[in-house]
């Protein structure tokens, strides 16, 4: 099936937030902190600007609690008396001319009495650095399986390693942007986002409004990659505050440089491994410490840390595992969601360490992985028994075959022996990734999906899950056509507009297909049940029954619905971090083929 909205994107007809036609719009801009940490002493407005032309918003204009609602209420919508990171938003401006906004933003001086910032998350904080609890630890978590310390002491060989990764930018091709307006007492925002109901919650909290006074609409979203999970809540609040004060629509669209300096990045990591192995390369013990740079506020770091440590031991079997993780406060802009959500960092460390262990044993690193990869019935670090029918060794073999690993490897050896300056190398790594929210997360989300029968006989899918390039619209269409035996033309996907759709949770964590997709199927079944159809009714009998139902019930809604139900065989203990961390996993292997110039360092 072709992408549902493909032609609309190819012809340039798709409307992203900055493409939405709106009259009498003001452009918004954000004045940001020049310092990493300190007390705001003064805000100076340059005399070259006629400030009477501008709408100006500061923290005193926030009608509710001045924080962006997430796990904790610690991140201000707009800094009040203190700043905790460079580029933290302090003031908002709006004006009909975008150029005038640019000049005005540059003409405001935020004067900060600086205090010592924490910029290295690895160094133990000094007393003058403490800003959270007694130790700047935003969250610490622990996984224990068996007796790792004793097993390490008994192991014939122990290999240690330390691995670091840096921040990483999403570079979604469309920058962050929101358009806000108030209409009939309802504050409405349309924009680029992954999680409309995060924004609803943020508005209830900071704008002090009831749910029915808030409407959030997703515009076409030009890539997210996690960067539009939590960050857009702040952008939406800023646009809304300006629109409320101006009494006119306000468009707040970041320029690329601002998007790069001010928005979230992948959490930098520092990971230590201590691994006990026998001479055959069998893993006897893994002791792993994961430290993440959380940045200046809590945001999503506790859950990023959780996914990071759950994946830190890799897809390998080991009876004695200890994983300790902590996320540290620093005065960097908060780090946030990015594809993989903490797991790529810890698995990078694990895979590099497997190569180091193999080198210590003088063993082929692929053979070391082969000997330890999880086999059916074996358990992960959290004690989850893996018996899903997947064969992880076969996954590795397939990657070796597709990449012609052995032939390439031999050719590289010949090349390296003959070339003076260049070296070629091949490497294989494994990965695994849990689908859906961790542990009891899906139970807390309590997602709901509707599938409506429309008067013309078509079926409309109503969810909060967005299309951002990954194919949500197409996949949902396929699921419904398969389930109800319909043509794609008989299926439509409702716009993601909180006035029309239930809360089926955020578009994150590989959950749109794996979790919400299952709800779409069950909602189809419910629709069929409401129509009094047999469980295998399909095609014309479904569309005909929908039309007949509407003829008998004029102006009524015909809704099939489904709510998340935890599968009975999934058990998770949040206190001890034992059990089934995820309902399902993706298993993978990848091969990298790299050439490096020893003279220039280029690749």
């Amino acid at each position: 099936m072709k992408r549902v909205e493909g032609l609309s994107k190819l012809t340039g007809g798709e409307r992203f937030v900055d493409d939405l036609p709106v009259d009498e719009v003001l452009w918004g801009g954000t004045v940001r902190s020049p310092a990493s940490r300190g007390r705001i002493r003064d805000v100076r407005f340059g005399s070259e600007i006629d400030w009477s032309e501008f709408v100006v918003v500061d923290h005193r204009d926030v009608p509710g609690h001045n924080s962006v609602f997430l796990i904790e209420a610690d991140q201000p919508v707009l800094a009040a008396d203190r700043v905790a990171h460079v580029h933290e938003p302090v003031l908002l401006l709006a004006h009909p001319s975008r150029d005038a906004v640019r000049r005005a933003v540059a003409a405001v001086e935020i004067v900060v009495d600086s205090e010592p910032p924490v910029l290295d998350f690895r160094a133990p904080p000094q007393p003058e650095h403490i800003q959270y609890g007694t130790d700047n630890v935003l969250k610490s978590l622990r996984i224990e399986k068996g007796e790792a310390e004793r097993a390490l002491a008994d192991a014939p060989i122990v290999v240690e390693g330390v691995y670091d990764t840096g921040a990483q930018e999403h570079v979604y091709l469309e920058t962050q942007g929101m358009l806000a307006w108030e209409e009939g007492g309802v504050i409405t925002v349309a924009g680029s986002m992954q999680c409309p109901y995060y924004i609803v919650d943020a508005f209830r909290h900071a704008l002090n409004r009831p749910k029915d006074g808030i409407r959030i609409i997703q515009a076409a979203t030009g890539g997210g990659f996690g960067g539009k999970e939590e960050f857009p809540s702040g952008v939406a609040l800023h646009a809304a505050l300006l629109a409320l004060k101006a009494g006119r629509p306000v468009k707040l669209v970041y320029e690329r440089a601002e998007d790069m300096v001010a928005t979230t990045k992948r959490h930098p990591s520092h990971v230590r491994h201590r691994t006990g192995v026998d001479r055959d390369g069998r893993l006897l013990a893994q002791d792993i410490e994961v430290v993440l740079d959380g940045g200046a506020y809590v945001t999503l770091s506790p859950v990023v840390l959780s996914r990071s440590i759950i994946h830190a031991a890799g897809p390998y079997a080991c009876d004695h595992v200890r994983i300790r993780g902590r996320a540290m406060l620093t005065n960097s802009p908060p780090f946030g969601a990015f594809r993989g959500f903490g797991a790529p960092q810890s698995q990078f460390a694990c895979e590099r360490h497997m190569d180091r262990v193999a080198a210590a044993l003088n063993m082929d690193p692929i053979e070391l992985r082969r000997r330890n990869v999880l086999r059916p019935g074996q358990t992960t670090a959290t004690g989850q028994t893996i018996d899903d029918g997947a064969d992880r060794e076969e996954v590795m073999d397939r990657a070796l075959e597709l990449s012609e690993y052995r032939q390439r490897s031999a050719a590289h050896a010949r090349f390296n022996a003959s070339d003076l300056t260049r070296r070629r190398g091949l490497g294989l790594a494994t990965f695994f990734h849990g689908a859906g929210f961790t542990g009891a997360g899906e139970v807390h989300l309590d997602s709901e999906v509707h599938v409506a029968g429309l008067p013309d006989g078509r079926v409309e899918v109503r969810t909060a899950n967005v299309e951002m390039g990954q194919g949500t619209l197409t996949v949902f269409t396929q699921l419904v056509t398969d389930r109800l035996g319909l043509d794609p033309a008989d299926v439509t996907i409702a716009p993601v507009d909180t006035a029309l759709i239930p809360d089926s949770g955020p578009t994150v964590a590989s959950r749109t297909v794996m979790v919400v997709g299952g709800l779409v199927e069950r909602a189809c079944d419910d629709l069929r049940h409401r129509l009094g159809l047999a469980a295998d009714a399909a095609g014309g009998s479904v569309t005909g029954a929908i039309r007949s139902w509407h003829a008998a019930h004029p102006a009524a809604d015909l809704l099939g619905s489904a709510r998340y139900r935890k599968p009975d065989d999934i058990e998770w203990d949040e206190e001890t971090y034992r059990g089934d961390a995820y309902g399902a996993y993706a298993w993978g292997a990848y091969v990298a083929d790299v050439e490096v110039c020893r003279r220039s360092g280029g690749s």
């Binding site: 992408r3 032609l7 340039g12 992203f16 975008r98 005038a100 000049r103 690329r256 990954q470």
Partner: protein
């Protein structure tokens, strides 16, 4: 706030406006704009053709590619006034029927780079001899797809060019 709405796009109150006439998608149009407006701004905000997208604003990503006198340019790097008297073609001018091959190959994902990709591809489609001297991947190197959908783009373009070649051979 009084008087705010009289201040036009581009800080016109300070610098005045320039008037320019260009051939836009085959029709002559005249527009008044700020002397500092980029061609991208003129197209999107003065003329309302929002198909052309801004990605990076500094000529790296190619999302804002349009054709100027038949050649692809990054419209974020072209001063608006430089389009005076030129022929400008945007994604809105490409017939949807021409886009079947790209549609079928899955050449678009999030869609933000797509109009720029389409304009470079449209240029290749109309100048098939380019392929004799350069690979399609080299020709398309100025258009970044953050979703990394390059295979779909190249596959679709190959099919498109092959179909056009058969048309010519007839």
């Amino acid at each position: 706030m009084s008087g705010a709405s009289e201040v036009r796009n581009g800080g016109a109150a300070d610098c005045g406006e320039v008037e320019l006439t260009l051939a836009l998608n085959g029709e002559s149009v005249t527009v008044r704009t700020s002397p500092s407006a980029r061609l991208l701004d003129v197209l999107r905000y003065d003329l309302g053709l929002t198909g052309t997208k801004e990605g990076c604003g500094e000529g790296e990503c190619g999302a804002c590619t349009v054709l100027m006198d038949g050649l692809p340019v990054n419209s974020c790097l072209v001063p608006g006034w430089q389009a005076r008297g030129r022929a400008i073609e945007t994604v809105e001018s490409v017939p949807a029927a021409e886009l079947t091959a790209l549609h079928e190959s899955g050449a678009t994902q999030c869609g933000a780079c797509t109009p720029g990709v389409v304009m470079t591809a449209w240029w290749v489609r109309r100048n098939p001899d380019l392929v004799d001297e350069h690979t399609l991947r080299d020709i398309m190197a100025g258009n970044l797809c953050r979703c990394t959908g390059y295979d779909g783009i190249i596959d679709g373009l190959e099919v498109w060019l092959a179909a056009a070649g058969r048309e010519r051979a007839r």
